[in-house]
């Protein structure tokens, strides 16, 4: 157990942040963001991914995994509901983009709010009847939901069935930033912006009423309800926000991949995203970011060992989870109120 003290990056980071003054915090944030934004230029270093294009790997899987894991973390980590059908929202976002992008003149940014809205509606519609269930029962229903969405897409004519939808338009250029297939830096920056927005949203909510409600629900749902927390409402909110992030990721994915088909939205994706959350540290934003980055990046980094790579990938998962059962950066358990001191702010 002693090893943990040396490994306690979480408290190290949290202390660094809490003891920093405001300008120092801004500096830390800007330097971190700047460093991440420059990642696509480091393709020549040891980070390079053999066979796969480094730029592309940074967008998908890495960036997309981080985004989706953050979304799933709202559901699984913050409010403690096991959702095994998260890919459904990703699929809804992606198909919204694909169908509207090929049949109308709407561009990616115009489809984005529609895709997010449809995912959220799906989240609410699924949530109202199912969120009365708990634990394993909820997991099974969400798993079913994920499969239903995929099977509907596979068997419907409007979704072009197993052929999928090709020629999804790319996003229009943002000023001098051009979206290109060969050079996906701009895509990466867009994903990064979406990730930052999601992190901002989660941090805002965590220190206020919704975060407390989710935390109470996660720890003891009956006690929460008897202390006046409208549990169903906050569970649906949690589900819906998770869906919104998944939908947003889907819209961008469709317009980056240019082609989507039902086989991209299998149960495996849900499980992999869940693995990112658990591997990184369930409930901790930074843990989830790191977990998703590693699990997204690793299979492509070790692509040179071809078939053995999934074996190595699985081995890494097993070993790390053995040594750090709570994930790389576990949930904060420090003795300090996470409530923002509004009076000083």
């Amino acid at each position: 157990m002693k090893i943990r003290n040396y490994w306690n990056l979480r408290d190290f980071g949290a202390n660094l942040w809490e003891n920093a003054s405001r300008p120092k915090r801004v500096a830390i944030a800007l330097i971190s963001i700047g460093f991440v934004a420059l990642l696509p230029f480091m393709g020549a270093s040891f980070l390079a991914t053999p066979i796969a294009s480094y730029d592309a790997v940074l967008v998908y899987p890495v960036g997309m995994f981080v985004l989706m894991s953050l979304g799933l973390n709202i559901v699984v980590g913050k409010s403690g509901m096991l959702d095994l059908g998260y890919v459904a929202f990703f699929a809804i976002g992606a198909y919204t983009m694909a169908i509207l992008g090929t049949t109308t003149k709407l561009n990616t940014w115009e489809v984005m709010p529609i895709g997010i809205a449809l995912s959220m509606i799906a989240g609410v519609l699924l949530g109202i009847p199912t969120l009365r269930l708990r634990g394993d029962y909820l997991a099974i229903v969400t798993l079913g939901f994920g499969e239903i969405v995929r099977l509907v897409l596979l068997n419907s004519s409007w979704s072009k069935g197993p052929n999928g939808i090709a020629n999804v338009p790319m996003p229009p250029n943002i000023g001098p930033l051009k979206f290109e297939l060969e050079n996906q830096k701009v895509f990466f920056w867009v994903v990064m912006a979406m990730i930052l927005l999601t992190i901002w949203m989660i941090r805002r909510l965590t220190v206020r009423r919704p975060g407390r409600a989710w935390e109470a629900i996660r720890q003891d749902e009956d006690a929460a309800e008897l202390m006046g927390v409208h549990t169903l409402k906050y569970k649906i909110w949690s589900f819906t926000l998770g869906a919104a992030v998944g939908g947003a990721a889907g819209v961008l994915y469709a317009s980056k991949n240019l082609y989507i088909a039902p086989e991209m939205f299998t149960l495996n994706v849900s499980i992999l995203i869940l693995a990112c959350v658990v591997f990184g540290g369930i409930g901790n934003i930074w843990g989830v970011v790191i977990g998703a980055t590693i699990l997204g990046y690793l299979p492509d980094r070790i692509r040179f060992i071809s078939d053995a790579r999934l074996l190595v990938f699985g081995l890494v998962l097993v070993i790390v989870m053995n040594f750090r059962p709570d994930g790389l950066l576990p949930r904060k358990k420090r003795e300090k109120a996470i409530v923002k001191r509004e009076a000083n702010a």
Binding site: R204, R209, A213, Q219, A224, V229, H230, A337, V339
Partner: protein, 261 residues
Amino acid sequence: MASTRKTLLKLDNVTMKFGGVTALNGVNLEVKEGEILALIGPNGAGKTTVFNVITGVYKQTSGIVDFDGISLGNQKRYQVTALGVARTFQNIRLWGDMTALENVITATDVHKKSGLVGALFGFPRARREETENRERAMEILRFIGIDEYSDRLAKNLPYGVQRRLEIARALGTGPKLVLLDEPAAGFNPAEKVELAATIKRVRDAGYTVLLIEHDMSLIMGISDRVVVLDFGTKIADDIPSVVQKDPRVIEAYLGVPADAS
């Protein structure tokens, strides 16, 4: 003198059956505003079931629960709390991974209007309510006398503080009626004396208290009235000194070996 006070909570002929077991059998109970009413009885008498029926954990098989003119029969649990009934739990059910202060703040949220959107965009009302909640919660912790523990995780607190934090959390919901389920369980005599003083202070601050307790000296010292349940039936309802001498109460406690605890 008690009869001139307003009735806050009224259970009218409440029966609660679980399959073939009758946990409550036609219980009538009145809680007057501003009193401390003790609910006692041997183990399995149905005391906690009364609490669970009032707070909406169980739906009574028959009978009426009336709180301040509103029937609690069809209310959801969180609505019952919003109406002004708060409770503690026999086995402590705090949110262990939250600090003591956060536990109470979460309870104070019940009467606040701002929701998720306000919190996300930092609307003025949401910000103001956060500050209000924080101050209110701190006030309650001071009132109960555990403010020095405000930043400690609930699960790491000493047992006695956890018990008192449960009371603080219940007060956080701004209740008219506080239901205390064995608040002195596991306390030593000194702690019990302290708790009795706390409960009296809670009452003097304007709350009405309905209390389940086993410790007779505690009950006789602080309660205005005592209701005795045995096998789901009310067998006595009077001031402590009278109840203490009631032969049926003595029989319920001493005369049935199978129920002795």
